[in-house]
Amino acid sequence: MSENLAVTADISPEEIRRQRNAERILATSAPRSRRLLLIGVLLLLFAIPIQAFLGNNINYVLHLLLFTMMYVAMASSWNILGGYTGYISLGHNVFFAIGGYLSGMILLYFGVSAFFTAPLGGILAMLVGLFFGFITLRVRGPAFIISTIALLLVVRIFFDNWDFIGGSNGMTLPLLDLPVHLVKVPYYYGMLLIAMVAIYTSYRIKHSKFGLGLRAISQDEVKAESAGIPTAYYKILAYAISALFVGMCGSLWGQYLTYMRPNIFLIILIAANMVLMSILGGKGTVLGPIIGAIALITINEFFVSQLGSSELNIVGTGLIMVIVLLFFPEGIVGTLRRRGKLPRILDWE
């Protein structure tokens, strides 16, 4: 490959050698420093609750971090479908609600904690994703996006009117039996675990044949199909995987809030956040949704503390979305990368 390029571009052999050396350096040193960075961040995240074990009340920090990690997981998850495959879903919080309600109901009726049933919530979300993807992934572009909104509204109406799960009043879940400064710690580790697995999955997909197929689908589906990629199968699988982690996050989130109502899970702002985080950070990159989630939650938290209004929050979300789409459609990571300013340690593509 590089030889071909060299011939056509007419570069001297010395230049080729230098480039190869550079590549080798890139290939060995980047992962090592990256691994160090990752291990460092993870150790830090694992260590933070020690403060709580020592008896300090750091619930606000824990809440903010676990909220961020939840959105990191959900945005990364959304990105598998919306970023890699190019199918934008505006109703992804349906899976959030499915996970939350399944685990919540099991907790209420059988007393099994969401920490054990979160995988079940994820799997049910995945099955619903499989079924729904089978129906709607036949259409592309705008029609698909509309169908995802319709899914959200249908599920909302059913949840609002299904008395078994509490209807629009919702249900109250029991609290964890822990002292107040420790009560958030299990959720913290749970979300951390889900976020780790979600990011790892996203990374592995991006660097696999499956991920290449998804990227081909997002570029040109007809050509991808004729190149032998089983597009229908790949799309549905991408949809299901991207539902899985959102469902697991929902499971934990429901028990964490200790109550479930359709208008907590099934508001479009949650879906909008997932979309916006991915676009803000860089759609279709591994790192983008992570950066996007951290950035957006920081901005949000700042706005809420300064202005304290949820309505202005919505305006802010919309404004950021429009500005990013118009001026930085590749997002933070994508724009930095194109300009060559992304630190190599953060270049996970």
């Binding site: 319709a150 109406i157 305006v315 404004l319 429009v322 118009l326």
Partner: protein
């Protein structure tokens, strides 16, 4: 028999209003390939104009139709110039603008919510509680007036598209953007004006909505899927399709409401959307499946 006739009348009068709402949406999609997710929030914004005019100055909501149309026309052009004009030649315009309109919808939603708060509003002119009786049939005056107004406006829109030079230009741009440009149509200008007209129509339907349905800013999400189901059924971008789709689904929803109760009537639209996508993605009047 009377009952069926009754449901048909209620469904058809409401269907006229739905058709008016969807006509602007399908016009904008036809000319610019913009799937305007912000359409319902424009309608609700217009409903608030009517609401303010009615509560402050006691102007009948039906009379605010022209006012709303003019105001929303210019507002639409402003939004188009600010947000949508920039990328008009982007090959991925359609996909990109879905998210842009989504962002615009969020901005307007939040702004309206900030100004008016998210409580249910409705204007109540005298006729909103009255009805005509023909034998056993009753026809609510509000629905009848709204349906007649919508039909008049739709016929005016049809005549405008059919007989005026600008209407020709709009239809030409709908059929083939680059060919229209080659034949001397100023496509950029037509796009801008069409967006204005589409939002103007949203303004007109907002005035009708203000006394037919209770509204609050966050409600527009429910309307998105409803309006989309109408134009997907009719075939996206087809004017006639939007009207026929609106009438069919509105009657269907009226039957569902009668049989299963009013809670489930919105489900008609959403389930219809899935079924259409599954069975005939191009809709009743559509030519072929959209590639992008």
């Amino acid at each position: 028999m009377t009952e069926i006739l009754q449901i048909l009348i209620l469904g058809l009068t409401l269907g006229g209003v739905y058709a008016l709402m969807a006509s602007g949406l399908t016009l904008i999609f036809g000319v610019m390939r913009i799937v305007n997710l912000a359409h319902p929030i424009f309608i609700i914004a217009a409903a608030y104009i009517s609401y303010v005019l009615f509560t402050r100055f006691n102007i009948d909501p039906l009379l605010t139709v022209p006012i709303n149309m003019v105001v929303m026309f210019f507002f639409g052009i402003l939004v188009y110039r600010l947000v949508f004009a920039r990328e008009a030649e982007n090959p991925r315009y359609s996909e990109m603008t879905v998210l842009l309109t989504f962002g615009v919808a969020l901005i307007l939603d939040g702004t309206l919510g900030y100004i008016f708060s998210n409580t249910q509003r409705i204007t109540s002119p005298s006729y909103s509680t009255q009805a005509f009786f023909i034998g056993d049939l009753f026809i609510p005056k509000a629905q009848l007036y709204a349906g007649i107004f919508s039909m008049v406006l739709l016929i005016a829109l049809w005549a405008f598209l059919k007989f005026t030079p600008m209407g020709y230009a709009i239809r030409a741009t709908t059929q083939n953007r680059s060919a229209a440009q080659l034949l001397g149509v100023n496509v950029a200008r037509i796009s801008m004006l069409t967006f204005g007209i589409g939002i103007g129509l949203a303004g007109a339907s907002g005035a009708l909505m203000s006394f037919l349905f209770s509204f609050f800013p966050a409600k527009h999400w429910e309307w998105i899927a409803l309006l989309m189901s109408l134009i997907v059924l009719g075939g996206m971008g087809k004017q006639l399709g939007a009207v026929v789709g609106a009438l069919i689904l509105s009657v269907a929803a009226a039957f569902v409401s009668n049989i299963f109760g009013p809670t489930w009537s919105p489900v008609t639209f959403f389930l219809a959307l899935f079924i259409i996508l599954l069975v005939r993605p191009q809709g009743l009047f559509g030519d072929k499946v959209e590639a992008t």
